[in-house]
Symmetry: C2
Subunit: 413 residues, 2 copies
Amino acid sequence: MAGLGRAAVAAQRVLALSSGEQRNRALHAMAAALRAQQSRVLAANERDCIAATAVGLGKAALDRLRLDAARVEAMAGGVEAIAALPDPIGTVMAEWSRPNGLRIQRVRVPLGVIGIIYESRPNVTCDAGALCLKSANAAILRGGSESHHSSTAIHACLVEGLRAAGLPDACIQLVPTTDRAAVGLMLSGMADSIDVIVPRGGKSLIARVQQEARVPVIGHLEGICHVYVDASANLEMARSIVLNAKLRRTGICGAAETLLVDAAAARTHLAPLVRELLDAGCEVRGDAATRSVDTRVVPAIESDWSTEYLDAIISVRVVEGVDGAIEHIAHYGSDHTESIVADDAAAAERFLARVDSAIVLHNASTQFADGGEFGMGAEIGISTDRFHARGPVGVEQLTSYKYVVRGSGQVRP
Amino acid sequence: MAGLGRAAVAAQRVLALSSGEQRNRALHAMAAALRAQQSRVLAANERDCIAATAVGLGKAALDRLRLDAARVEAMAGGVEAIAALPDPIGTVMAEWSRPNGLRIQRVRVPLGVIGIIYESRPNVTCDAGALCLKSANAAILRGGSESHHSSTAIHACLVEGLRAAGLPDACIQLVPTTDRAAVGLMLSGMADSIDVIVPRGGKSLIARVQQEARVPVIGHLEGICHVYVDASANLEMARSIVLNAKLRRTGICGAAETLLVDAAAARTHLAPLVRELLDAGCEVRGDAATRSVDTRVVPAIESDWSTEYLDAIISVRVVEGVDGAIEHIAHYGSDHTESIVADDAAAAERFLARVDSAIVLHNASTQFADGGEFGMGAEIGISTDRFHARGPVGVEQLTSYKYVVRGSGQVRP
């Protein structure tokens, strides 16, 4: 691992001085290699899936693991989309002059070496590697053992791209999963070579990272996302947003887990919303008021309000207006993404100002919590931290800056 | 300490919804209180200075500890200058629309609760408290025991200001120095209530913070700052910059510690620069080439190149051109602040691009490494980290952001 760290630092020095054009050339060559090696990538993935099935990996995890031609093409397209983004490095973020004539620029620079620790999704190998390269950071990738063959095959395509552009292989390194001590070393033993850790995974990984990390972390806690339907909400809009927020894809962090309905709308909005969810195959766990509208609603217990189901299950509660919703979210939420459906502009603005989450929406689905949907290109995740990066983490969030000051002999009085 | 944490979190919720006008009212009242209570602050400081002298505190530390009327007035003026800064909170940092009609804003919000751990300078109590308040963060201040009476008297003025503006006392809390466990708790036992730690102190404090912290840190490592004099440098400009960078104030982190002289200028520039330093009372520790120009130069040993003297001592080395300087700085520097003196624009641009420090200057003194000199108002320090904040940490660097998204019923396809 120490060798990996040294190689990453050396490769990052090359990257820091590379042109955006050279890095884009590598990205395009990676996309081409992914397409050319599709059958090899799928064969490797098949090996992973067979092994995962044999050890009884759950359905959701198996779905995250499985690749098909469309998913490989999506990876290649994603890399091309990253190449198409503006080069963040060298951008002058701000520029001003001082009365003494000093000219000051704040210029974007890479973070350095980024360690990414992730679980079963093999596409993270590709997304994370490409995002780090675009932002001139070296990447040390440590994926889950269940996706080892897939990640190795994908990584080979990334290295092919690096070589085609004349960049060092060590710009993107994959840690062998056989190295059991690797995660611990990345978190605490490589502070000299790793500048930032990005964990992508479930609660146990996040807990371990928070406990052990001696380097900065861009954290991705769970998304306990809420939709609050105000009494002023247009019912048809509320219906469409609630169904989409919960059921479009249930396994993503921006999926809604709790529906809050204004007590003033309990008689008009609650029943139709709950019935639509039930009819669409969603399990509804409700408070007493919610249970009273449909016998299929099961009782919610206290822990439901802080559970990220990532499944076709939703908890539903009646609250006292927008302030009741704000209070519930402050108590149970994970500061990820929350939406208010309301025609009342004052209620909406109050919600947007007072809900302290990375993303707050008015009259839109929580499933928009995504770097691509925000127009930032691909993302490495959604940060629920307040430090450095919050919300979608794209190429700009993987950078630092420095101050460049030009003078003509100024000394400080 | 748990009580302090809870109080800070509650106070921060009030601050998050306060207006910039209200916070400025508190700042102006603080400045007024500092002026009105000047004699009380100075009497408290006198007690600290007597105690510090009795236990044999060093001259530099004693100088940092001592207040006089001018320094109290400077604190009050500093607080007013912070009040005069634009309110960072609620600022729309970026704004764009998506093809589906969603309107996205990135809006500045406070970081939350900031813990500041510092040593002997009592003015940090005032500066840090005021900066945190301006940026709507609650502050938990833990100063050194040697400045305890001074800090307590200053803190009383800050609380007077908070009360005058109707803000909770707990917006700025001072930890009693009698609580020996406080620093450990702030670093690792209060992750639920402290969002960021800012350490202000020497190497041992920084090392402890890096070892123990379980919350994000805005770090301030030492400033091993370099001035490189290129062969193309105007000698008069080089002389003026080198003397200022080293000797204007020797105890600040932006003071130069090493002078690098281009080998091509060893015959023209080296001797006059070294003699000027020696004549100004600066000890010069040099390599062989430097020793050859004046018998008063003492030999530099390996550790001199990585020593932050914070005193009238400078190490001097002859290097092979701008690339030699870049290499020396990469090896021995602390990524803080470096300056090149050169008339050759290409050499200057090469240095500015390739030296990976928080601040790089061309033809200007390293002593400009300061938030005030940058026009950012007061600073809480100079970050040598790459994460979150780099360089001077002013009110903007003490903020996070959130995304506010306004729609009209959009759902994700």
